[in-house]
Amino acid sequence: MAEKMALAKAINESLRRALETDPKVLVMGEDVGKLGGVFRVTDGLQKDFGEERVIDTPLAESGIVGTAIGLALRGYRPVVEIQFDGFVFPAYDQIVTQLAKMHARSLGKVKMPVVIRIPYGGGIGAVEHHSESPEALFAHVAGLKVVSPSNSSDAYWMMQQAIQSDDPVIYFEPKRRYWDKGEVDPELIPGPLHRASVVREGTDLTLAAYGPMVKLCRQVADAAAEEGKSLEVLDLRSVSPLDFDTIQTSVEKTRRLVVVHEAPVFLGSGAEIAARITERCFYHLEAPVLRVGGYHAPYPPARLEDEYLPGLDRVLDAVDRALAY
């Protein structure tokens, strides 16, 4: 029975289902137990599944990921929380050097079914290190998979699929969308984890985004429609692997592509998309692939974040530029 729930609650329900169905699933992180996480994503889980399965850890991110690797070696499927995007870097070594490479260096003997949840992105007026979008730093690493849901249903099902995956999955949660509500149908048969979806059909230009920027792109498409422009919106859902086939199909139709993400444009996922789509769709494109994202500057203080983050007008501006070619 489908139910309307906030994105954070959808993740919570998904974790609950995983804990119920697979005794090897563990939830671990800072404050995930009694408090239920600083965003309450793990609310009530420790109460129902106990301290052995929903584990409050010491405040040491490398330790969290490193012990999760050991637990995975023992046959567990840990779902670890990194409290905020900017806190992941103490664990970066364990993620890049150990977690990502373990399967390959064991010649396939060892599997690493570890999910790393990271609330990410800005727009909530937070202090430094609480608003970053480091997805490209993980997508660049072979051995990792990187996903980011944009809505409650995806949040629920992509978490189920991430936990079932035998590969390590970095699961980026769009923290500013935690409270957005959407339908979740626990009976649904979900599509593949790494397939993009067309969330709005259009003919004049394709907007590609994931996580928090999908909602913005829908709003951009609404605004453009009032001006008589028909925009197609893709929810990429997965940053590694990227579903280039779906993007290609869309761009062959619309002939124009604008990629939107909060992360800095320079060497961001949009750069890879632009390069690949230019290669694949060279004779279809009417305009260069444009990108809208953050600047090559540290994430600014909260009072300036609206200037830094892609907003309606900045994306519309890119749309206009692409259409002007």
Binding site: A60, I69, Y76, R105, G108, K109, D166, S240
Partner: protein, 396 residues
């Protein structure tokens, strides 16, 4: 020695008690009690004399002559294998080798203390422990030859892959031990690391996690005095075993060149783990007799006097002296072992020389367990590129 090497001579390292005297204005901490020789658990003196130890004798009380000869055999064969690997590197058959020369007792003693269901997390120098776990020595050489990054199934012998980035594996061991505890098993886990790795944050975090969760893990630190060119003084101002105290679990320093003491102390520590008493830190005080690896040149940073002094504490010689003085082994045993050693060397040599290069498509193997579209795409591009040469040559 030349004037130059004399000028570059480092402070002597025989004393662990030179800490706490730097000009910080703080008094020397009372935790450092060592004089010229460190206090450590020893059951066999360097001369091979059995000495009593009230605390640890019980852990080797029932040891049979056969088992003692077994320990000796393990050490000799491990040293022989190690020497062969060094030679193979010099002959260009291996790209690199990290010798364990001098650390045989620490590794065989601790390795033989483990049970089959225990799990071992090594660094990249634990060839003796691998031997004890039943990992074929030739499997260790693949990564040093450059044909793979780990040539054995970790679950085949409960011996994890070698870990090159130092200290990382102590967290894996801790996590694994947390899992053992969750499973209600009475297995234990042992994590190897060195004096250099003791400075890593991951080691500190593994101490914290294991203590907080009371994980059944033994931290076995082989303090071989040198982290490439840096002496232990560059890593710590207190004897390493004392660090455990700050985390709330016991630490003990053992003579790392005394195989009997290493066996006893590790048995004790593993037993604590099995009994639910949590982690233990064992510091095996030993010496890296050779270079850090075949790429290293220790004459640039340490004086040979030091190595010579440690030669007198050789782990193999002292057990041999004990075996002989107690009539536990005769000439026939030693002669037979000698020919077994040579056979091992020959087998390793032949296996390495016969080790084929991997197929070029191995690059794309096992990057992911569940596959990845980009890897598939790039593998196909690589195949097409390779095939283009065959086309150009008119072949197929």
């Amino acid at each position: 020695m030349t004037v130059e090497s004399s000028a570059a001579r480092k402070p002597r390292r025989s004393a662990a008690g030179k800490t706490g005297t730097a000009g910080t204005g703080r008094s020397t901490r009372s935790t450092v009690k060592q004089g010229t020789e460190p206090e450590l658990v020893q059951l066999l003196t360097p001369e091979g004399k059995r000495v009593k130890n009230a605390e640890f004798d019980a852990y080797v009380a029932g040891i049979t002559p056969d088992e003692l000869r077994g320990l000796y055999r393990d050490m000799v064969l491990t040293r022989r294998f190690d020497a062969e690997a060094t030679a193979l590197q010099r002959q260009g058959e291996l790209g690199l080798w990290a010798s364990l020369l001098g650390q045989e007792a620490a590794q065989i003693g601790s390795g033989r203390a483990t049970r089959e269901d225990d799990y071992v997390f090594p660094t990249y120098r634990e060839h003796g422990v691998a031997w004890c776990r039943g990992v074929d020595p030739t499997n260790l050489l693949g990564m040093f030859r450059g044909v793979n990054n780990g040539g054995w199934d970790p679950n085949g012998n409960n011996f994890h892959l070698y870990t090159i980035v130092i200290g990382s594996q102590t967290l894996h061991a801790t996590g694994y031990a947390m899992g053992v505890a969750k499973d209600g098993a009475d297995s234990a886990v042992i994590a190897y690391f060195g004096d250099g790795a003791s400075s890593q944050g991951d080691v500190a975090e593994s101490f914290t996690f294991s203590a907080v969760y009371n994980a059944p893990v033994v931290f076995f630190c082989q303090n071989n005095q040198w982290a490439i060119s840096e002496p232990t003084e560059k890593q710590t101002r207190v004897p390493l075993y004392q660090r455990a105290q700050g985390y709330g679990f016991p630490g003990v320093r053992v003579d790392g060149n005394d195989v009997l003491a290493c066996l006893a102390v590790t048995r004790w520590a593993l037993e604590r783990a099995r009994n639910g008493e949590g982690p233990t830190l064992v510091e095996a005080f030993t010496y890296r007799m050779g270079a850090h690896t075949t790429s290293d040149d220790p004459t640039r940073y340490r004086h040979d006097d030091e190595r010579v002094a440690w030669e007198a504490k050789d782990p193999i010689l002292r057990l041999r002296a004990y075996l002989e003085s107690s009539n536990h082994a005769d000439e026939g045993f030693f002669a037979e072992l000698e020919s077994e050693s040579e056979a091992l060397g020959k087998r390793v040599r032949e296996a390495v020389r016969a080790m084929p290069d991997p197929d070029r498509f191995a690059i794309f193997e096992n990057v992911y367990a569940d596959g990845h579209a980009l890897v598939d795409e790039e593998r196909a591009q690589f195949a097409a590129y390779q095939a283009s040469f065959a086309d150009a040559q008119g072949g197929n």
